[in-house]
Symmetry: C2
Subunit: 278 residues, 2 copies
């Protein structure tokens, strides 16, 4: 996939960059974007061919903004990639953990290291930044040995900064799931997983009956995430991942339609291999 | 409730402060906390008698951190209060909207004004701050007419700052739901709503069967929100709100237990009156 342009949230050395290299190979060109909205916009503006985008983390949970963007843009999901995430406390060469007064990082990364920060750096300011790798670039530029960033190994190496404390995430089982988006997608061979948005009527039991469609067809639900419906106070739509081949998916959609549910298919793709916790 | 100490996230003039005044009356003493964790900690440390805490917004969705804290601390929920939220763009007296280069606010407030900011202040930096009212205090202190904050009317009035643009939230139906927590709670008379945490087995159809308990008892589900279970990759627990009296609740709990579900009751309280959109 030589020269393919891949939109990512973040920059060189970010977790998105590593995920892009793993999925697409080494010869891609990344299109770095400051925000998740920027990633979807890069696809809309034809500045990138594909995007790879984090959608949930096993500690932080779902990234609501990404779910809202998946709904707004409806770019087909053509694959998923789970990555084992290790966070590093990174500072200037020679810096001392006990002297750190500020920690910069992406809010998801700060959240993954909540317990470490509370225990080891309770007095340090935690400052949210738009990207982990860029937070490393920032502390390099600020050149203050009491400032640190949280990011991956690759970001420290890329910017020539020092890892002050390794693997500071609160849990070893810290995985981020990335989705691959392809605006010009055709059918994915061997697809066995689908991502849907389900809107039921608001009658009592409506969600129960909708989930019954999947249960009765023997379709496993791997994820259910609710998001508010804008303009309808305390009413929700459901982002659902199911394990289903084309025939099961078609049957489920037809039965859900009979129940009066609105369903939007965000993608039908191959599920990632089961995760091994190393 | 004279002199009662109420822990809130934020400070004088914040939306939490207004919600506290509405629920408890004018003669309370607020215990301002920088973070949601601080609010729960204030109850743990007996620095406050009660807390009032935002749990979801009709545009932003659920506040994941608060759900995690409800689970961690398990302080009884004794009531709920929906508040209609209007956001104001606030600056120094005489400031000009077109000259604004930075906008400070709480991430939830920034999110509620996403479209306004994209349309009117696309080039301005959006800087996340721990509290709306404190963001107003900050721009007052920084004394730079190109800096603005997003907060409510009360914060502008409290700090003597100017509203540059009124009601900039992206939707008129912008409500925040607050929960009232009382560590020494006894039974709430006339309770008709319960908040639960449900963990099912991870067998296919387990969630469907659990929701069947509510559906078969004629119990309406008003909310279902999933959060990851820490240490179990891609496994979720469900925060569920149901409309149920004591008898219905007891029956449902017994049937869920028969299905092998683990249920934690976070509170049984009176549902708020239905919301009128003004």
């Amino acid at each position: 996939m030589d020269g393919m342009k891949i939109a990512i949230q973040g920059s060189t050395g970010s977790f998105h960059h590593l995920a892009a290299l793993r999925w697409f190979g080494e010869s891609i060109e990344i299109v770095p974007c400051e925000t998740f909205l920027g990633v979807f916009q890069a696809l809309a503006d034809l500045e990138a061919d594909h995007a790879i985008c984090a959608v949930e983390n096993s500690l932080y949970g779902s990234i609501n903004e990404v779910y809202d963007l998946l709904l707004a843009f409806k770019y087909p999901i053509v694959g998923e990639l789970p990555e084992h995430i290790h966070q590093q406390l990174i500072g200037l060469p020679g810096a001392d953990v006990s002297q750190i007064s500020r920690v910069y990082s992406h809010p998801v990364a700060l959240n993954q290291c909540r317990e470490f920060l509370a225990e080891h750096l309770p007095a340090a300011e935690k400052i949210e930044y738009h990207d982990t790798a860029e937070a490393v670039a920032l502390i390099k530029q600020l050149d203050n040995p009491t400032y640190a960033a949280i990011a991956g190994h690759a970001a420290a190496a890329h910017h020539g900064m020092q890892i002050l404390q390794e693997n500071i995430e609160d849990e070893r089982t810290n995985f981020t799931r990335f989705l691959i988006l392809d605006p010009s997608a055709s059918e994915v061979a061997g697809a066995n997983k689908a991502s849907l948005i389900l809107r039921t009527s608001h009658a009592p039991g409506a969600l129960y009956r909708a989930l019954g469609v999947f249960a009765n067809l023997g379709i496993n639900l791997t994820k259910l995430h609710s998001r508010p419906i804008r303009g309808q106070v305390w009413k929700y739509q459901f982002f659902i991942d199911i394990e289903a081949d084309q025939r099961q998916l078609d049957t489920a959609l037809s039965e859900l339609s009979d129940l009066g549910c609105e369903v939007t298919i965000l993608g039908h793709y191959k599920a990632a291999e089961e995760i091994e916790v190393d």
